[in-house]
């Protein structure tokens, strides 16, 4: 019997993994396991064959090549898709996988796999040491929110723990709306129990009995997998009335978004969970004190919560040893857009952007020169090629007028029109604004018009001044970061790519 792993991650499926799995399953002496993806997405469908030397990779595999591939595997012969042991590939070796340790390795819905690969240890330890010490471990680890703002998780948890309340909530933000990000999705599909464990630890730490996860509707596979994982977790006493027989009670509900980017903003997400329009709430009060249905609520990103089990299992100090300055631990970077080797790459903070884009990413997919890189989603700045030496560190990015956000890195080659990207930033904001405040709602629409006038050659100087005023107004006058940070991509495009804003002659 030959065991082959064929990912059922949705990116792998988009590259034909289901067809490949079906082609293997037609052979009676082949056992097919559907794992998550290792995150080397340019190699998908990446098939792994279990051998005496570990799991050997082949990719990208197409269904028509499965029979010859099986022949080669059985004969021990070479094959042009042969990659060698997957754990030894440079992309894998260069990483430090904590959050994604099991993603791509295990069967995502196997509780046995989960425990055999270190799962549930963190929760057991949290139960052993008690809520207060659990919060202390998270604080000690230096873990900061991975959703974008980088707020220290331990401080947030302590606030919720210290706020009295009969009913408290833990909410996981799985709205992952930023273009160029897909790590939350890969974890939801590839290691859902890790997130369930992280949320359960959070609940234990702060005294919450109910949890909600808000998954965006654009991720139907993630919703299906996570729902199944929740059912299995209940059946296995990892959720419910008496978790692990230790008297802990925690119920977890899966909710699906409805196509609004703004619902990734935490207060908008809470409104949406309450069944309302996703309009942003003014802060204070903060969700930690007055959150879902007015109760004390932890809101954390998927990767924040998925980092917690390991922190508890190994201790906060071990995690704090990784990284640089005030950016501790690892971050899951996502290489996207026009990049040769796109995928997820988890490593300690401090690695340079150039290292990620050029070395690991291999430059552009088109083979043309890199011109600009947008880090941190649609509200993140554009960084020119000359700026790629920036280390991946929250504060260093802030000093450079950029942001790490959720770790998405979108690469553009030299054919990109940066005035069009600046225009798109406003268009996106106009489309996705919750409408609560004028600078954002109206400013974004004006922004599109002003850029059109500039590139149309209509009084460029006056309109450029207007554009700057508009950016100031949005930065200063918006209630949340949607309107407040939209000037980031616009201003960075203007600053580094001014030539793109010169008037164009009509082409016809």
């Amino acid at each position: 019997m030959t065991t082959v792993h064929v990912p059922r991650d949705s990116a792998a499926r988009s590259a034909g993994a289901d067809e490949v799995a079906a082609a293997f399953a037609r052979h009676p002496d082949v056992r097919v396991v559907r794992n998550g993806s290792r995150g080397m997405l340019w190699l998908e469908p990446l098939v792994e064959v279990t051998t005496d030397h570990g799991r050997v990779g082949y990719g990208p595999v197409t269904p028509d090549r499965v029979p010859e591939l099986l022949d080669a595997i059985r004969a021990g012969a070479d094959h042009d898709l042969h990659l060698g042991p997957v754990d030894d590939l440079p992309w894998m070796r260069a990483q430090n996988r904590i959050c994604l340790a099991r993603v791509g390795v295990t069967d995502p819905l196997s509780t046995t796999d989960y425990e055999n690969h270190g799962g549930i240890k963190g929760l057991r330890r949290a139960l052993d040491i008690g809520p207060e010490a659990t919060v202390a471990e998270v604080t000690e680890s230096g873990l900061r929110g991975r959703g974008g703002a980088g707020f220290p998780a331990g401080i947030k948890w302590k606030t919720v723990a210290d706020t009295p309340g009969e009913l408290k909530f833990v909410c996981c933000n799985a709205d992952e709306g930023d273009s160029g990000t897909f790590a939350d999705r890969m974890l939801l599909e590839g290691d859902p129990f890790c997130l369930i464990e992280g949320m359960t630890i959070a609940a234990h730490a702060v005294g919450a009995t109910e949890g909600y996860i808000y998954i965006r509707s654009e991720y139907p596979d993630a919703v299906t997998t996570f729902r199944r994982a929740v059912d299995i977790a209940y059946a296995h006493n990892w959720l419910g009335e008496d978790i692990l027989g230790r008297g802990l009670r925690f119920d977890l509900h899966v909710r699906v978004g409805a196509g609004a980017y703004i619902c990734g903003e935490e207060t908008s997400m809470l409104e949406s969970l309450e069944g309302k329009r996703g309009v942003v709430r003014a802060k204070p009060p903060i969700p930690a004190i007055t959150g879902l249905f007015g109760r004390p609520t932890v809101v954390n990103n998927v990767l924040t919560l998925a980092s917690v089990p390991r922190i508890l299992a190994d201790g906060g100090t071990a995690y704090h040893k990784l990284g640089v300055e005030r950016s501790r631990g690892t971050q899951v970077f996502q290489l996207a857009g026009n990049v040769k080797h796109g995928g997820v790459f988890e490593t300690d903070f401090g690695i340079s952007l150039r290292d990620l884009v050029e070395h690991h990413g291999g430059g552009t997919r088109s083979g043309r020169p890199v011109r600009a890189v947008q880090v941190g989603g649609p509200l993140g700045a554009y960084i020119p090629e000359s700026g790629l030496d920036l280390p991946m560190d929250y504060e260093k990015f802030a000093e450079a007028g950029a942001m790490l956000g959720h770790g998405g890195i979108v690469v553009f080659d030299d054919t990109v029109d940066m005035a069009a990207m600046a225009r798109f930033a406003f268009e996106f904001c106009a489309e996705e604004s919750c409408g609560k405040c004028t600078p954002c709602r109206v400013g974004a629409v004006r922004g599109v018009e002003v850029i059109d006038r500039i590139t149309g050659g209509e009084d460029p100087d006056a309109n450029m001044a207007l554009l700057n005023d508009l950016c100031d107004l949005m930065t200063d006058g918006s209630l949340c970061a949607m309107g407040g940070l939209t000037p980031n991509p616009v201003r960075s495009a203007l600053l580094h790519f001014a030539d793109d804003f010169t008037p164009r002659r009509a082409t016809s």
Partner: protein, 153 residues
């Protein structure tokens, strides 16, 4: 079952959920393919909300359609990472050959989306819930044709 009974069955399934309106709307859209204006009064009454509140929620979220879609719904990603690898060309092709974004022509509804989480394998699209990547205009046409065939068989 008449329409009102089907609506009530969906509401009943979520009666005890906290903040049940979104799960109910998703349930109704799964049942009918869209949210018909005429269900709003019933929803409002059953959930003890005002009609204006329900209407406000239905219209706030892009997912909830006011009209039945075609048998095949194509969502094309237009976010930055897909733009970097030619998403706009794909959109132009689809608008030329199928329908304008937001419209239905024959069996096919074309719409846009901002990110499908397939940003390393763009340009991406979702066709009846299934993710596609690295799409050329030709592959998009083929994928739509496959899905159309599947839906009519």
């Amino acid at each position: 079952m008449d329409v009102a009974d089907r609506v009530l069955a969906v509401i009943e399934a979520h009666r005890h959920d906290r903040g049940a309106l979104l799960p109910i709307l998703h349930g109704l859209q799964a049942e009918f393919g869209y949210i018909d204006q005429s269900v709003i009064p019933l929803l409002a009454k059953e959930l003890n909300l005002s009609r204006a509140d329900v209407h406000g929620v239905v219209t706030f979220y892009r997912d909830f359609r006011s009209e039945p879609p075609g048998r095949v719904t194509v969502l094309l990603c237009r976010a930055e990472a897909c733009q970097a690898v030619g998403a706009e060309e794909l959109v132009a092709h689809a608008e030329r050959t199928i329908a304008k974004i937001g419209q239905t022509a024959g069996n096919v509804t074309l719409d846009q989306v901002f990110c499908l989480g397939n940003c390393a394998l763009g340009p991406a699209a979702q066709i009846n819930g299934r993710l596609h990547g690295r799409l050329t205009p030709h592959e998009l046409d083929a994928a739509i044709a496959d899905q159309t065939r599947e839906e009519s068989s």
